[in-house]
Subunit: 137 residues, 4 copies
């Protein structure tokens, strides 16, 4: 079991009442939970700014499945040695387009580089690389 510590935070009353309204609208049950999430997100953002940090990422890409050889090239990239592709999911968007979400683990810098390579492939229409830090608290 992880240990929990209780800390005190001083906040201006008006600021606090605006925060309470915001987090109630977002569905939070308690201030503690909402503040924990702010802290975690801040740490995660910080961590992901380091190219050597370990991360989990999902690459999104929209592509035309008629594009010659794109599917093979994607497979090749997914089997590259540096990054470990964990899983991928394929969704039919319409007659032409597919959405593929590829979840991988690796260093931030390497994943970014691979992301750029995927997005530059002929036939890939849109793409984005999204990181989640892998180091848990």
């Amino acid at each position: 079991m992880s240990q929990v510590e209780r800390i005190g935070v001083s906040l201006d009353k008006k600021l606090l009442s605006r925060f309470d309204k915001l987090i109630a609208g977002q569905g939070y049950q308690s201030r503690s939970e909402a503040i924990r999430d702010l802290v975690r997100r801040q740490l995660s953002t910080e961590q992901l700014s380091n190219p050597d940090a370990e991360a989990v990422a999902a690459v999104f890409l929209v592509y035309d499945h008629h594009s010659t050889k794109l599917t093979e090239k994607l497979m090749d990239l997914q089997h590259s040695h540096i990054l470990q592709v964990i899983s991928s999911i394929h969704i039919h968007l319409d007659k032409h387009d597919c959405l593929e979400v590829i979840v991988m683990r690796g260093r931030v810098g390497e994943i970014s580089k691979m992301g750029e390579n995927i997005l530059s492939l002929k036939g890939v229409k849109l793409g984005r690389v999204n990181f989640v830090s892998s180091e848990s608290d």
Copy 2:
């Protein structure tokens, strides 16, 4: 078959040579392809700023699978009526934490709202909502 039009663009030589170097590094085979991607990304960004636009999104969340009832609550949310969850993928990160990627279709505003609701659930440690526009060219 979609029709293609050829347009001319005037660019400063120095700007062009910096662009050529950048896109070569990213793996592009041609300027045309790289510029098409810039245009598509711009249109997509614009479209996603409209809360009523149709979009496909993936919600990422890292959570502790020991959290009481979180799994049921996530299921409930995924079966809500407004949004259509297309698919989801579950990955074991370590002894405690899971990564779940939930791909859904809906309006930008509704997806954002649902995203906030998911992230506020007790036990969800990190999360992010990522959009891809669904309207193809």
Copy 3:
């Protein structure tokens, strides 16, 4: 004088020690101060997602001061009626380029629209609109 309230937040010990390290590196003197900043930034981000919210913004633009009539067009835009330009600052970057920072007050949506208009002017090379929420706590 504004009133201050003290609240308690429970945080996992490991999470807290990572946060302490991060904020020490950023120069914070206390956790309370760092958490207040997270709360304020969250409220500000939320507020700025509403196109009708009052905001203060700075438009940055890099432009070639040899561009015909750009200076006049910028002046015209700055004297438009809807937005209140508070102040502007002009910096010589090199032989050709100037940086202008225009600080204005207005609604988020109107400022964004004006920003797009400025960035589309012939001769403007780079630009960005940056918001700061105007509603203080």
Copy 4:
């Protein structure tokens, strides 16, 4: 005089017509101008991801001018040796709060570090560091 080169770009007709509509709404007079801006922004974004790149930045901060010694601390930071503060602008937002925009030149990494230091000062309520690349085409 800088030399201009004309290149050809092939675009799907539907994509082109959506792009034409978007840029007309933003106020662009020609496609060439709009595409040049996309190219410049892409190069700028790329450049600013390198911590060693030279950049011009503006630090925004909202602070309570009653805060003890904040003004002196800000002055000290602005006169640090590594970064060259070019100019700053001070705006009265309301009875308590001021907005200060500090324009500086330096390396991306150093500016980021200084930005964090400023934002962590007691009395600074909100802040943001915004970069513009300094290398012109």
